[in-house]
Amino acid sequence: MEKKSLWEFGTREVVYAAIGAALYGVFSWVTNFLALPAAGNIALRPAVAIPLFFGIAFGPWVGFLSGFVGNVLGDFLSGWGFWWYWDLGNGIMGMIPGLIAAGIVSYKAKETIIKAEIFIVIGAAVGILVPSLLEIPFSGIDLKTAIVGYWLPAAGTNIINGLILVPILMVAYDAVVARSGR
């Protein structure tokens, strides 16, 4: 079997980064458009599973671009302007789970899913921490507000969505890989 290079960005990665970004953008827009139900203050934003999953399936650059460009697209479709440091945070969120991409043999193996879940938590936590901390110099808030007002609600909901949806996508993708032979 051909050994995968973790940081490769060839034709395949160009295409899947674009698909991941477009999917994330469309799902984000749909979440706003259809006003999906929410429980308490946890909004259902299933779209965040896309950059996390694309990172795991296609590597860190694909995860980064899916998150970064996808968030730009979602905001552009909804007409919400350009929030570059939140786009960057979404990119990092997709990039970190991508660090395990090269070593994956089976996407439905228990150990792969556990490893992916751990990296999803780290990815969402670190990815959202970056823009939350950047709000300190830009918005003049203090660390406590950045953590309580931005990081906890955003990272928490992203982790919940990622932990539930990404394993389902991984199992489905395993069947696609088996079928295509790639």
């Binding site: 999917l23 929030w83 489905a172």
Partner: protein, 290 residues
């Protein structure tokens, strides 16, 4: 369900400018704004971004939703910051100050005492002006920049060819994937899936999104293989790409970039050499203290 970009030609001055010049100007102004906490300087930037907003020829109906979002977010965060955590980026508001209102609450055995001082209120006002200025600076971009130009714009700003092309491709995929989503949603609804009536707890509700998310994603991945093969057969990436749309700077673009550079240098000089721009409060505001 029809996905549409917010951009449409408005024949505005902003659309005549090179998108690269506009990005450079926006980031230069952004880094100028964050030099200041003095509301007098922030008002200058507020006026500058509002002028840019006016030049964009946007209607209230188009931007009402985003304004609501920005105002709720800004006021919510500033209220939380002012009331409970007290200060922000400047040390002047850290402690003490002239008290307007103070109360002591006992929450689950913990004693918290939110205090509002004149300094905190004025700082909150400065924060609101600064946050709205930064938001408005970038708010107009989706409405006034042609999505077909993003790839070539970012390539022109120095991003590698493959990354720029991937961004360009993402914009092109959106209508196709939105259509696929719509088809899948209709198919699932025909099978009795009710998106609007998802029941159960948070976990159950998220899990019930899978019948929508999984087929659309897997279908897109499968079609991606065909696109990859087609691009490889056309020797994608062997040579630098050429782009359908070409961008070229004209005099007004250089003027815009130069204006951004002058604003940033002036801001840095004012801050570093003359030590102005830190938190400022008018003397008359002290009359608010009890």
């Amino acid at each position: 369900m029809l996905v549409t970009w917010k951009y449409h030609p408005r024949n505005s001055l902003l659309e005549k400018l090179d998108p690269r010049a506009r990005w450079f100007f926006s980031f230069l102004v952004l880094f100028s704004i964050i030099q200041f906490w003095d509301v007098r300087f922030l008002c200058f930037f507020f006026a500058l971004v509002m002028t840019q907003y006016a030049l964009a020829r946007l209607t209230w109906a188009e931007t009402r939703r985003v304004w609501t979002f920005i105002l709720i977010m800004v006021i919510g965060i500033v209220a939380l910051n002012t009331l409970f955590t007290g200060r922000g980026g400047t040390t002047e508001v850290l402690s003490g100050g002239h008290i307007i209102w103070r109360v002591e609450w006992n929450v689950l055995g913990l004693s918290i005492h939110p205090t509002i001082t004149v300094e905190r209120v004025w700082f909150a006002f400065s924060q609101i002006v600064r946050m709205i200025s930064i938001s408005t600076l970038f708010l107009i971009i989706p409405f006034t920049m042609d999505p077909r130009l993003y790839g070539v714009t970012f390539r022109g700003m120095g991003i590698p060819d493959r990354f720029a092309f991937s961004m360009d491709l993402a914009f092109r995929f959106v209508p196709t994937l939105a259509r696929d989503f719509s088809t899948t949603l209709d198919a699932q609804r025909a099978r009795g899936y009710e998106l609007d009536k998802l029941e159960g707890g948070v976990v159950a509700q998220i899990r019930k999104m899978a019948p929508l998310v999984v087929p659309v994603t897997m279908n897109a991945i499968l079609s991606g293989e065909d696109i990859t093969n087609a691009m490889d057969l056309r020797c994608f990436g062997l040579r630098p790409r050429t782009w359908v749309h070409k961008l070229s700077y004209v005099r007004r673009d250089y003027i815009l970039i130069a204006a951004g550079v002058v604003i940033l240098i002036s801001s840095i000089v004012l801050k570093m050499a003359f030590h102005v721009g830190d938190f400022w409060m008018p003397a008359w505001a002290l009359t608010w203290a009890r």
